[in-house]
Symmetry: D2
Subunit: 413 residues, 4 copies
Amino acid sequence: MPEASVRTDPLESAGLAARFRATRSLSEALVEPLSEADATIQSMEDASPAKWHLAHTTWFWETFLLRDHAPGYRLFDGDWPFLFNSYYEAEGERILRKRRGLLSRPTLAEVLDWRRHVDEAMERLFEDPACAGLVELGIAHEQQHQELLLTDIKHAFSKNPLGPAMWPHGGCIPAEVSHAPEWYEHPSGIAMIGHESEGFAFDNEGPRHRVLLEPFALAGALVTNAEWDAFIADGGYGTASLWLSDGWAWVQRMGIAAPLYWRDGEQFTHCGWAERDPEAPVTHISYYEADAFASWAGARLPTEFEWEAVAALGHDPAGGNQLDGAGPPLPKGSHGLFGDCWQFTRSGYLPYPRFKPAAGAVGEYNGKFMAGQWVLKGASCATVRGHSRASYRNFFYPQQRWQFTGLRLAMDT
Amino acid sequence: MPEASVRTDPLESAGLAARFRATRSLSEALVEPLSEADATIQSMEDASPAKWHLAHTTWFWETFLLRDHAPGYRLFDGDWPFLFNSYYEAEGERILRKRRGLLSRPTLAEVLDWRRHVDEAMERLFEDPACAGLVELGIAHEQQHQELLLTDIKHAFSKNPLGPAMWPHGGCIPAEVSHAPEWYEHPSGIAMIGHESEGFAFDNEGPRHRVLLEPFALAGALVTNAEWDAFIADGGYGTASLWLSDGWAWVQRMGIAAPLYWRDGEQFTHCGWAERDPEAPVTHISYYEADAFASWAGARLPTEFEWEAVAALGHDPAGGNQLDGAGPPLPKGSHGLFGDCWQFTRSGYLPYPRFKPAAGAVGEYNGKFMAGQWVLKGASCATVRGHSRASYRNFFYPQQRWQFTGLRLAMDT
Amino acid sequence: MPEASVRTDPLESAGLAARFRATRSLSEALVEPLSEADATIQSMEDASPAKWHLAHTTWFWETFLLRDHAPGYRLFDGDWPFLFNSYYEAEGERILRKRRGLLSRPTLAEVLDWRRHVDEAMERLFEDPACAGLVELGIAHEQQHQELLLTDIKHAFSKNPLGPAMWPHGGCIPAEVSHAPEWYEHPSGIAMIGHESEGFAFDNEGPRHRVLLEPFALAGALVTNAEWDAFIADGGYGTASLWLSDGWAWVQRMGIAAPLYWRDGEQFTHCGWAERDPEAPVTHISYYEADAFASWAGARLPTEFEWEAVAALGHDPAGGNQLDGAGPPLPKGSHGLFGDCWQFTRSGYLPYPRFKPAAGAVGEYNGKFMAGQWVLKGASCATVRGHSRASYRNFFYPQQRWQFTGLRLAMDT
Amino acid sequence: MPEASVRTDPLESAGLAARFRATRSLSEALVEPLSEADATIQSMEDASPAKWHLAHTTWFWETFLLRDHAPGYRLFDGDWPFLFNSYYEAEGERILRKRRGLLSRPTLAEVLDWRRHVDEAMERLFEDPACAGLVELGIAHEQQHQELLLTDIKHAFSKNPLGPAMWPHGGCIPAEVSHAPEWYEHPSGIAMIGHESEGFAFDNEGPRHRVLLEPFALAGALVTNAEWDAFIADGGYGTASLWLSDGWAWVQRMGIAAPLYWRDGEQFTHCGWAERDPEAPVTHISYYEADAFASWAGARLPTEFEWEAVAALGHDPAGGNQLDGAGPPLPKGSHGLFGDCWQFTRSGYLPYPRFKPAAGAVGEYNGKFMAGQWVLKGASCATVRGHSRASYRNFFYPQQRWQFTGLRLAMDT
């Protein structure tokens, strides 16, 4: 791990420009251990090449900030938006998602040139208050892609029988679970859910609104690898009655018998195959698996509202094991609800009352995905510290598990 | 339509035995217009042959009532449970769903013999109060399969280029929409949602619980074919910004440009191809289409809670155009929220707080499907009158549209 | 087996009209044991419903004889050619092959009416010498569909877990193998291959031409079930070196470990599951399996030219176990090369030198299939006696095995 | 194009060692214009990454020569055979073919190190006469992969919307067609087919044997782009009667309407998109297209035997436009049968009489592919000069067209 790697805390009081620069630097620091080939390959349609992440985030700044708000700005290369637009229909046609791994050109060096060009051009926009909201969005967007870059390259490396390592040691690994308190108890009542006015949030975190909660308890600790081993030993993957119907079909069809990246007592990490820590949180599980485990444990998953209501009671969203820079996370002493892994809720990813997507193409950012996905809360060891908050709504399809996904149990009281 | 067809109203004060007999008779009356071949074919994995519905419902009675509760009862044929178990894992292996259409044996006559055998054996269980709940469940189950039988055979006939008719006229066709009132206004407040203690309900309708509602309005009328024509004319199927991302991918991949069963000014019905009534509710649409239409109309779909809160204010669940017997529905004079078509809500099909599936194999009835599906409310022209109620939760995947599915708009107030 | 079943020998000196009538009768006799539902189902895209075979053969007569050659003839139903045209592009669009099993209408009775109508109309064409060739083609065509009807319904019944029987006993089962002589020796030289001028033959059997043969020997007996059991016992299905690359991929992907219709010591027959006769020829194997077996046995498959050269030396093409009527075949005393099962050759199905397809739509009968298929020679227990001849070229794709396919070894000498 | 690129003529009298070195150098020269990322990507299952070709050919030498014949040789890396074995079952398990494009490691530099290591170790084997045959095989093998490397990277680049160029100009492009003579006439008679004893040949080119030919004529010129344009203009792709049944299904399913790499008046080349020369041979067509064109032209494809019989009459197998080194081919003045593009024959790829695969793992080289493929003769502009000969049998599946495939007509006389 290079000593020079950037340590950033976007929650600190640093100005927008400084946070922009730190974010951009971090993206590049993350790909430093990668060869040009590493940065080009794509191991499945859900994942994208590292180089593509570098380019797509740059396209985002060039398109929504420079093109739209910097008079006289000219595109670095007019053919590239077709390559690096992800899914914004309002921005036109684009290359098929599954073909992103065929883009050996432009080269990594060309993409890095583009980044410098865009970064320089961005400098004159920081003074424009009309752009501040979009700059915040762009920072948050690039932070999300930093996490995806890390999980995507991990997936790609896992498909290589040589089991290559991105870092010699350290890397994104959840820290051991602390078991105090055992449960967070929460009474019945009306909770305020969603982002409050101050600070940046995505459109899908609002509007803030009232939700009626029944009394419940949320586990103080994440479910661990050891607990998951017990689930397996008890025949969890072979017991139909524990599973949702779609989950059971998925388990059968795909021959699923363990979390992703498990083999014997090991798991695949950014440092290659490594011994599995029984006391660390289980990660890389699907919603189906999380739900089945909860059934087996005689508990259930929390709703996103329950989770948020507990989180709002003073948990530090920059706590836990998170990404501090391009090197290994620095574990914090005590855990709260955040960090280590994203936590499945039993809430479908649906709009809040009176939700309206943002205007323009960026309105496609969140709203159009509100079908078939599930809300996850918290933050993972691959989430840059400061990126998340209590109202944050991450979302994935129920069979996806290449993210650092885990679970925290809940129960009625 | 045979004059002898059965007219039943399960909501009347008739006893359990009478309702059992009427329900069983209706199933058989529905297949009277079908040949043995009609009753055997299966046009897609989602649909089942009519004969299979006759047999599966009989298996349900034989398994959960007679086998478990009638001392000394012997199975009519020990090989048949493998053929006619639908999805009850606790009841063992079964034939692949997509192979139901290969079962030319047992013959229709053999299945009807089985029905008679089971019906006779059932007679001695009606006096047993311990069985009353399961009998109610069995009746509701068979009523659901009556609706599926009708929508499945409609789908199968639609695939025959000859466009065969099941009935010469009448049949399951939604009635013209009444537009009074324009909107049902509903204030903010806490609503009680879910089934109350009296009368039968499925386990997924409970537990009854409190939900906090913001003020809203629910349309007095269903969206009509004429309104859908306007959506098409305005390029609705080609405007990405109206669609959920999954919906847009579905539209593109499948070449969707109209509701199922539409061609020119016609639609396919149980009576073959027929002119489309512009004033009748649109039906056979997917969730994706319903959601896109609502966006286009500047409105939204209601939540299941909003719909139920309005329905609880005195609408007649036996109103509207519903199935009265094996013949054409008899339209009622005024419409409420029920009848004509199932109405998509924007609510994912998820468990209510403190939901527990019923014990035993019948616990697989509803709970294990709580992933990836959407709640629909109301009742359709193919729902037997009296089957539905305000708390009823129908559910389908977002791309499915061979049911009589439609929509009713909502908006924030 | 109905006593009234027709016994026909089309090779006898009977006139064309008599052979037409006998052929038409046999088709109907074959479906007598079937219910309307049996005759409607389709178990895979390769197979067609029995009713469809009855209708398609009738369409053939109506189209190529009556429509084209009987002045004033009017189609029985103008919508039916779309349903019952198999693959004749020149005859226009048609229903997708995989949807033939959805045609519950027209009914079996309607199709039988059509057959009578066409049969009556045909009577006036027998005197027309210009039609004789097409009538011969139509008879041969309907005989081919009789064999397909039998193999298709066998496949459909095999998919029913009840294992239904079409006949109580008898049926199409290869007879025990006779082992004299052990080998037919054949010297080097030029052989004349292809049909000679007299008698009917398909266009693909000509032109007759010279082929240079090297010395070889052709096995006197078909490979038996017992020999196949030895191949299995020796790990034949798990030994990559025995297999063609495509065959090995097929074995792996499909989990193939035995001929089709085998389970334990049994095989599926038209009479349901039955004990397997070790001395009977193995049937229902693919080209890949035949080739692997030959490699295992240290031999090879014959070319189609080698087989034909031996067959031309006086073997009786109406010998062996073949279809005599709608009942069980009557085994003949001694075997030659014909009967019991079609025999794979190592010859690709390609055109003979100077081959020209017949003019018009019937030119699509054979020529357009000359890609990717393999020639089989002989006749099977489901081939009507008299249908085959030394020059006959049957052809299937290398993975297909629902026909009565087997093998006879060859070797260089 | 680097001036230093190697020009080699393996047919010259140079010794085995010199030809080995020249062949190895050429492989490396071919990848010089490629970035590490270019060399890593895989655009379809049929194609392999350039780096993989470099590695696989090295594996071939290491496995079949060094491991088996160089006492004391130790594998460069024991994990790599799993990655770079192509299809040799006898050599054990290997990575799935479709995953070759995920191998960003080992790096290109590591693979080049491996090549040097192996090349040095090989030096001591050239004196061993027992190895000469395997060395010849290894050279021919690596030459085949040079051609594949070029066609695979062309395919990969064609999928990049930027249309990257491997070379600024020149590259592999067929030369203009010479039309003299118009036809090669050939009389009836017995021809000797297959490789004669002198010089290297693959096992599938023998044994040499007699074939009886009927009189025919083989076109003196390859079919040109202009002629193909006429086929298109005449509706060739939309006329079912011209096509084999499988070909017609392929055209419909894939929406084929032109050769691969065509758009408007351009075609994709190793130098990017370029104007199409009407007088150059058409390339990148499937067998289905070649056969349909021949039907349209009132001609047919030659058999492999006809082609070889003409080629044996003195045509220069090192003639035509072929690969001379890593730069643009140097067109020769006059054409014979060889060069520019591989030419489809109507012969299935089947074993010659008395064919026996070579012993050991290299016996998997050719024989196991003798199913479902078609023989092509000649050589293409991407075939290294000297690699081909009259008896050479190239083979591909009928739908494959990413090779430089074209056609030369034939007719009966």
